[in-house]
């Protein structure tokens, strides 16, 4: 009997664990180690953040789902990896520290035959002074919608602002809280949902809503922009985004690295090196992501973290990390199997794998501050990669170490994105966009690097309905309800 240990129970880890268990059956063991007791459909957090959904609508308890699936669930955070075993055994293992199940604080060693790192990101609030509290958590100056609890708090603060806006002007700032952030899409959705709710509440006229982000052009989204078919050709998402922001009366600051946050004030450096500040009454700034801080130790206890993890804390996989300058970047730099190059029984998926380089054009200010979006690995690609990794591991277990690994390169994968711009059965709007491939392949598709036959985008009410249907569909799938395998990632 082989044992697969999956670290992380988010979109990618949950997908990997549940498919692996389904394919492996009871002949082998699947263990999930995640510090959370609840599964969270993160894309809907933005609706929690404006009071249109509750925390219960976007989360469900993991324990009964894993019990039903026959998955060994440990509510704990992974602390370290010991790929060569320890002093007493050559068997690789990880150490975990419990966060629930009545064993809070206890540590344990969990041996594995195969390991999937799907730990997701550490929300690195402290990378920007004043954004965090100095202990790695969200500070008091801004709010966040990165977790369901953050979103509940964000809504409480937002409602206070709406109340004040009934009698006085209020300033709202939404965007990215650092020059190296990803997830501009979440901030994009949040700012337009705030604007939509403000109109519904009749306080829009008293709100100055301002966008700030590290993109070098509006609509970059960390992937060098999306493209919408128009007249047989694809126009950039910049045109669509600028129209939308103008239409909704939202001015934008781009090319910005927020370098300090105080109560009611954000300081930022622009791509031209100038230092600026902006005041706010309410701010939601997305933090940059980093690896969760897993350590790796050799058999003799020596630290080997740098062999397995990139400096940003994400796990090295079969990517080309020596691609060099922007002009040399190729689609083939991106990983295909997500297998660690040193330890073939270790894989990483979702945000946890280290990307070889950016997707957007690298930019920096004259002061040397990098200001560019980092590559997103969330949503649809995250689920697809999780399933692919599960497939590979199942084949390795069943067919032996020479089994052919499954592949899911982000340079050969399309993604569909439905970005909400306001919730409502009859007055909601969302932008539905597809991009293929996620990582541009300049050799295969000269010019933009993307196949325009698989590119389309629309904004409207139908997009909102799709977004709402997806919310229910993916939660249904994650709960492993009948037919869950038929629902695509």
């Amino acid at each position: 009997m082989a044992r697969l240990v999956v670290m992380g129970g988010g979109v990618s880890g949950h997908t990997a664990a549940t498919f692996a268990k389904k394919w492996l059956g009871n002949d082998h063991e699947v263990v999930v180690v995640t510090p959370n007791s609840l599964w969270n459909w993160i894309p809907s957090n933005i609706w929690v953040g404006v009071g249109e959904m509750t925390k219960e609508d976007v989360t469900f308890p993991l324990a009964p789902v894993y019990a039903k699936a026959g998955i060994d669930y440990r509510q704990a955070k992974a602390v370290s990896i010991h790929p060569n075993g320890g002093t007493n055994s050559d068997k690789p293992y990880i150490t975990i520290q419990y966060t629930g199940q009545g064993k809070e604080g206890q540590t344990e060693e969990v041996a594995y035959d195969y390991l999937v790192n799907a730990t997701g990101p550490k929300l690195n609030f402290d990378a920007t002074p004043g954004l965090g509290d100095g202990n790695g958590q969200l500070g008091s100056n801004t709010v966040s919608v990165c977790t369901a609890d953050h979103a509940v708090h964000a809504n409480e603060e937002l409602q206070k602002i709406f109340d004040k806006a009934k009698t006085q002007k209020q300033k709202i700032l939404v965007g990215t809280g650092h020059g190296m952030c990803t997830c501009q899409g979440a901030a994009f959705e949040y700012i337009f949902n705030i604007e939509h709710e403000a109109r519904k509440a009749g306080v829009r006229d008293n709100l100055d809503i301002q966008w700030i982000s590290n993109e070098s052009f509006l609509g970059d989204f960390g992937i060098g922009g999306l493209h919408m078919k128009r007249g047989g050709y694809a126009a950039s998402s910049r045109l669509f985004a600028e129209s939308l922001y103008s239409e909704r009366g939202i001015p934008w600051i781009i090319g910005a690295h927020v370098n300090k946050v105080e109560a009611g004030k954000a300081h930022y450096e622009l791509l031209d090196g100038s230092m600026n500040e902006i005041e706010f009454d309410f701010a939601m700034l997305i933090p940059p992501f980093a690896g969760v801080g897993l350590k790796a130790y050799d058999k003799d206890g020596s630290d080997m973290t740098d062999q397995i993890f990139a400096p940003n804390g994400f796990m090295k996989v079969d990517a080309n990390y020596a691609a060099g300058a922007y002009e040399n970047w190729k689609a083939s730099d991106w990983p295909r199997t997500y297998q660690n190059p040193i330890y073939k029984n270790m894989f990483a998926c979702g945000i946890a794998f280290a990307p070889p380089h950016l997707i957007s054009k690298p930019m920096s200010s004259p002061n040397g501050t990098p200001i560019n979006p980092t590559p997103p690995r969330t949503g649809m690609p995250s689920g697809i990669i999780g399933k692919t990794v599960a497939h590979s591991i199942c084949d390795l277990i069943k067919e032996g170490p020479n089994a052919h690994l499954h592949e899911a390169s982000m340079a050969e994968m399309g993604a569909a994105c439905v970005a909400s711009a306001g919730k409502g059965l009859l007055d909601g709007t969302a932008a539905a966009l597809t991009v293929y491939p996620v990582v541009p392949d300049f050799e295969k598709y000269p010019g933009l690097g993307r196949d325009l036959d698989y590119t389309f985008g629309e904004i409207g009410l139908a997009g909102h309905w799709i977004k709402h249907i997806l919310h229910h569909m993916f939660i249904y799938k994650a709960k492993l309800n009948p037919g869950w395998t038929l629902i695509p990632e």
């Binding site: 070098s216 052009f217 060098g224 922009g225 493209h227 078919k229 128009r230 007249g231 047989g232 050709y233 694809a234 126009a235 950039s236 910049r238 045109l239 129209s243 781009i254 090319g255 622009l270 791509l271 031209d272 090196g273 100038s274 922007y326 002009e327 970047w329 054009k361 930019m363 920096s364 004259p366 539905a432 597809t434 541009p440 300049f442 010019g447 933009l448 690097g449 036959d453 698989y454 389309f456 629309e458």
Partner: protein
């Protein structure tokens, strides 16, 4: 070398351009071609896409000097004014467009070195904004409201300049597949109420017909998919031919057919 200009109704101008990644002799040659073309046509500014090169390159003639902007991005704006503009792409059209009065642009020079420039001359600022719009697949018509845009297109049409209408058929042959499928679905729906009015033998016959209708509908849907794909390639400029719309049509009919079949199984079977 003087290059041919892309002029309406040539829609290649709608291509979103990509960033220049290699600052080599090929780029320098493109820059020279752009300058030659500007001199030959007495132009003040040119985006590379206006000579059908889909890269983020702009050349502007300002005070007898050619300014080169590679991969430009506007990162700061200030003030707005009404800019009266003509553009090469739409011959003989003048429009008033709201533009930023002052901008700060970050770009690279021909050697790939990053540059930053404050542009406070409103005319130069507006020209650069218009040219940057081209790089992202837009023209100044995108800055107008729907009625103004239509006026411009009508005026161009009067001068014999219009996008060929045949690129997006008013009635597509693929609609025959949809129309026939819908009629069969209605028939399936009607058979469900037959038990209220007819004998058991007739109901059994109708159930047998339903069993034939389901695969027929599925065949029609498959036929629709392949024919729609053929049309999408044939009429590349037709936005209603996009695969997303076709998939929507297929999903709706497939779901209806399955629901009706299940209902027939329980009601008639």
């Amino acid at each position: 070398m003087v290059k041919e200009l892309v002029i309406y109704p040539d829609e290649r101008v709608n291509i979103a351009c990509t960033d220049v990644r290699k600052f080599d002799e090929k780029l320098h040659e493109v820059l020279q071609n752009m300058k030659d073309t500007m001199q030959a046509h007495n132009l003040e500014a040119l985006s590379a896409i206006q000579i059908a090169i889909p890269y983020n390159i702009i050349v502007i003639k300002h005070e007898d000097e050619y300014l080169e902007f590679i991969n430009p991005r506007i990162i700061k704006t200030e003030g707005k004014f009404d800019s009266v503009e003509k553009t090469l792409y739409y011959p003989d059209i003048t429009q008033t467009i709201s533009r930023y009065e002052k901008i700060k642009v970050v770009y690279e020079n021909r050697f790939g070195n990053p540059k930053y420039q404050d542009i406070s001359d409103p005319k130069l600022s507006a020209t650069l904004q218009r040219k940057i719009d081209y790089l992202f697949g837009g023209t100044f018509l995108d800055k107008l409201n729907k009625a103004q845009r239509q006026n411009v297109l009508d005026a161009l049409a009067k001068n014999g300049l219009a996008v060929s209408q045949e690129v997006c058929p008013v009635f597509s042959k693929k609609d025959y597949f949809v129309s026939f499928t819908d009629k069969l679905l209605i028939v399936m729906g009607l058979t469900l109420i037959a038990p209220l009015f007819t004998s058991k033998e007739t109901v059994a016959t109708l159930y047998a017909i339903d069993k034939i209708l389901l695969p027929t509908i599925l065949v029609l849907i498959i036929g629709f998919f392949f024919y729609a794909q053929y049309e999408a390639k044939k009429y590349r400029q037709c936005s209603s031919c996009q695969i997303g719309n076709n998939i929507g049509v297929i999903i709706k009919r497939s779901v209806a057919a399955i629901i009706l079949s299940i209902a027939a199984y329980f009601v008639l079977g």
